[in-house]
Structure formats: structure tokens, C-alpha cells
Amino acid sequence: MLLASSPFHEIRLDRLSRAFGAHNALKDVSLNIRKGEFIALLGPSGCGKSTALNCIAGLLSTTGGGIFIDDKRIDTLKPEDRGFGMVFQNYALFPHMTVRQNIGFGLKMRKVAKAEIEKRVEEALNLVRLQGQGHKLPGQLSGGQQQRVAIARAIVIEPPLVLMDEPLSNLDAKLRLEMRAEIRRIHNQLGATTVYVTHDQDEALSLADRVVVLRDGEIRQVGKPSDLYERPDHLDVAEFMGYRNRLTGKVIAKDGDRMSVAVGNATLTGTARASLKVGDTAVIAARADDVVAGTRSDQAVEAVVETIEYRGREFVGTARTPQGLELVFHAPQTAELGSAIWLTIDPARALAFAA
């Protein structure tokens, strides 16, 4: 039986697991998805995000745990009986059907009346701004247009859940930004509950209501984009959120959650994201934006410039510390390659993790 457009409150993943032989691709993933929420599954390749999506879609069987819509268990249903919509990475449009037939496919399979199908397909075409393209075959459309058709095909059935598997990764950079805004707009307009898989943190942060960071098949952190961006729980999540600079040292002083860490001759300060005490080894993590070339001081790290790039408003470069660490920094003006500079790290933005 189909679950489409049936009212529900939440979709629950309960200790979902999937093993491939001895390899656990997904380990005890639990998550409550509220109706209307946009969830992004974020992680590097091989983290299990696509496995999770395919398990939810029913394209892959689970080896443990369950999937529930409210109290109804659905992980035992075949994909065609779950009533979800899915957008694939390579679009997966039926090449022998016109755009209209592609979009209407799900409705036709549900034996919706012809007139009703026509009406809803037309609405969907308008929604994804493909008016007048309905008679074409997918091969006659550009990549961006094909992805719009794929999105229309998934949402026209008004599914309780829309699954998106890296839908923008095949598009060029400009189109990707455009389609991102488009997906956000469609979500705001329809409020369809969505699970979106991506390895691009920008995409996840800009689209999602909540981001789930996966690593090695396990959830590392779940939170609002701003939580993840400003307060990552783990060093690897921080790394994924753009904290590319990591300096290891000893905690020499502590003031509430403000940690002073001695790195070489410099004393760096950051907000603790782990329980640390004086004498512990800690890692100070900072984004490139927060590492700025400046004047010599006790809070500055000395480093030798290795590359420098012009970025319009400012310069971005890499420099190496005497300990051999590479740091990415911003500078208001260019710097000589091979010259020594002093890099200050914004103490309000830097984070301290246990090493």
C-alpha cells in the first residue's frame, strides 16, 4: 500500500545498520525527521551517507534496526510500496519518455486518472520553471533542466519524504548555485520533508534545517547549520566545516572555557570544545578566514610563506611553521614567497579540542 500524502508527524530511523560482509557501512544510525524538515546527510565519500539514503529508499536492505513513519514500520516494504520520491545523482530520467511522461510516471503507476495526471504534471512543470519543455525528450535538455525534471518527477507524487542523492554534483559551479537556490525555493513552497545527501558542506549548510555529519557509518554530530559551523563537537567535524588550521600544543592556562595553549613560542587562545585541563595536549583549530597576517606578538605564530593567491578583496596563502605545520591564512596585501610572517588567530573564533 502507498503512503503518499498520508498525514504523519515524523519519520524515525531506529539504530539503522547495514553491513557489507565484515564491513559496517552504517552503524546504529538513529534520527528523528520531523514533517517538513530538510535534513542534509553530510560526510566524505565512504562515510555511509549514500548507504543510509538507499536504505531509506529501500534500494538496499538493512541488516539491523528499523525505519518508521510514526508507528508504522516501513523498512520491510519494497521501494515501490514506500511511496517516496527520489532524485538521483545522474538524474536517472527515462530516456525514452518525454519530460511530461517522466514527471507523470509516478502518478501513472499509482493509477491516477489521466486528467488529474495532466493537471498535476503541468503544475509541476511550472514549479520547476520548465513551461513549454514538456514535449521534449530528456536527451534534448541541458543538465540543469534534466535535474529540474528529476525534481519535478519526485515531488509530483506528493511523497511523505523526498530523497536526494547528491543532485547537484554533476552540474558546473554556476548552475550548482542556481539549482541550490531553486531547491530551497521549492522546499519553502511545498514544505516536503527532504533527506539530502551531499559531501559539500556549503550545500548542506545553506539548504538544510538540520545537518547530520556522518563518518565511518556513524553519526558524529547532528545540529542546525550554525551549530555545526560555530560549535563542532569533534575535530573531524570541525575539519569538515572548514577549520583547516590545526596547531597542537599544551594547555597552560584555563579561564572558564577559554583555553590558552602554548604552540611553539606563541600562546594561542580558543574556546574549549572538549573537557581540557592545564597540562593536557590540545589542538587549536581555526578557519582560514580567522588566521590573518599581522605584526609580531606573543599571540602570533611565525611561518614562512609558501604560496599566495590573489582573491580580489584580499590575498589567501599558505605558510609553514618551524614545526612543519601548514597554515592557510588571509592577508590584506601580498607577501613575498619565502619571507617570514606572523600569523594571528582570532581568539574569539578559534576552538580547542583534545588531541
Binding site: K78, E80, M86, Y91, A92, P95, F105, M109
Partner: protein
Amino acid sequence: MTSASSNSLDHRISLRQRLALRGIDGVTLLVLPAVLFLLAVFIYPFIYGLILSFKPKEGGTFANYRTFFSDPFLYDTILTTLWLAVPVTIISIAIALPVAFRVRLMTHQRLLTTILVLPVTLGTVLVAEGLLNYLGPQGWFSRTLMLLGMIDRPVKLTNNYWGVFSSLIITGFPFTFLLTLSYVSGVDPALEQAAATHGAGSWQRFRHVMLPLLVPGLAIAFCLSFVQAFAVFPSAVLLGAPAGPTRVISIAAYQAAFEQYDYSMASAIAMIMAVVQLLIVVAVLGIRNMFYRGSTAGGKG
């Protein structure tokens, strides 16, 4: 003098470049042996046979063709051959399709494919000999059924239609299967997944997504398997009743050539055979043109 020679040099280079732009260069010459081969063993004998067929032993230009189409003993061979080749081809494809759908998902595809393809290497005569032993009146098949009490006298499966039929299936299937498998695995698996997530059950997925995309490939598989089955000769003689129900067209041609020593008549029969095959192939390809024939990928890779 100098300017003239440099001019001709320029001219020669530009000609070569122009040819290269059209895809013709030194490597193109490598097709020559193939062209010669084709002319020598295909085009020449064909034209020779065509002319020969219009020079009958007695009578006018079309005497051979008139004889063929006025003698039921001769023209019936067309129907007899079609009656073997068409069902054999359709059944081979009908078996190959589900097997290919299953094999496509298997991890040990190579092993199974090897086993299925093995009959090709055996040759028609060996298969015929095997079938004679196995399906013959004293063969295991009948004896097993009798032992089980399912029949009380041996079933006749050799020296008739069914002997040739089974031999053609066994020798033709691997070829049909390999072709079908390549077309089936050529369809992007994401298309089936997309169909499934959008509510299509397995039959609907086959009917609305896989089959329309496979029709062009299956038409080609049909043509190639059909032509192979239509030319049946050894198994029709060894396993069939070459004087009666399995007197196929190639037997008629053989008898004309090597029993009556009427090469002209044999050529005419060969020409008729070619025309019948051509008609069927053209018809099937015509049907194929009515279907979508483009890429079977779901989008960018």
C-alpha cells in the same frame, strides 16, 4: 624552379591535411585487405550466383524461379524453414531475457556465462550426436520417463521437427543470450531504481522502462539469431526428417546442387533464401525504427 617545387610540396601537404580532416589517412589503407576479402568471398560469389540463377539448364531466364514457385515440394521448404527458424528465435530470446536479467545482478557472472556459452564450442554435429543418444527412442530421456511410469512407450523426439528444434535452441541460445545480456546490462541500473522508488512494481518496471529500452537491441538479436537458424542444415539432416517435415530450404539447395548437379537451380534457391531472410530482417528493423533508439543512460554519468 625552387618556387615551383615548394608550391607542389605545399599542395601535397594540404591535400593530405584535407584527407585527414575527412578521416582518411595512412591507417585508412588498412581496410584494403578487408575490402578485397569481402569482394572475393562475398560480393563475387553472390553476383556470380545471381547471374548463374538466371541461366537455367533449360527454359527462359526465369525458368528456375518459375519451377521453384510452381512445385510445392520446393516452395514448401520456405514455410518449413520459417516454421523452424521463427519459433526457435522467439523462444531463444524469451528464455535469454529472464536469464540475462538474473545474470546481470550476479557476482560470478563470468562462470555462468562460460557454462551457458559452452555449447557454441561443441559444434552442431556433436550436439546432434548427443541429442540422438539422449532423446532417441532408447535414450535416457524416454527411458527415465518410462521408468517413472509417466509414459508407456518412448516419445519420438528425434528424426522429426522436435529433434531439429531442440538442436537449434541448444546451439543458438548461447549466441542469443550473450547478445541479450549485453543489451540488458547496457541499461543504466539507476533507471530501474528510479522506477521502483516512484512506485513501479517489477512487472511495471519491465513493461514501462526496461522493455521499451531493450526493443532495439532485441530486434538486432532477433535478426542475427533468425538468420543463423534459417540457414539450418546439419541438424535438419542428422536430427530431422530431411525428406519430410524438416526438409528445409538449404536441403533443397543441396539436393539441386549435389544430387541433380543443377548449379543454376541451386543458385536460384540460394537467392530465394537470401530474399526471404532479407524481407524478415527488413521488417523487423522497420518495427525497430518505430521505437526509441537513443542512449539507455539516465543522464550524465
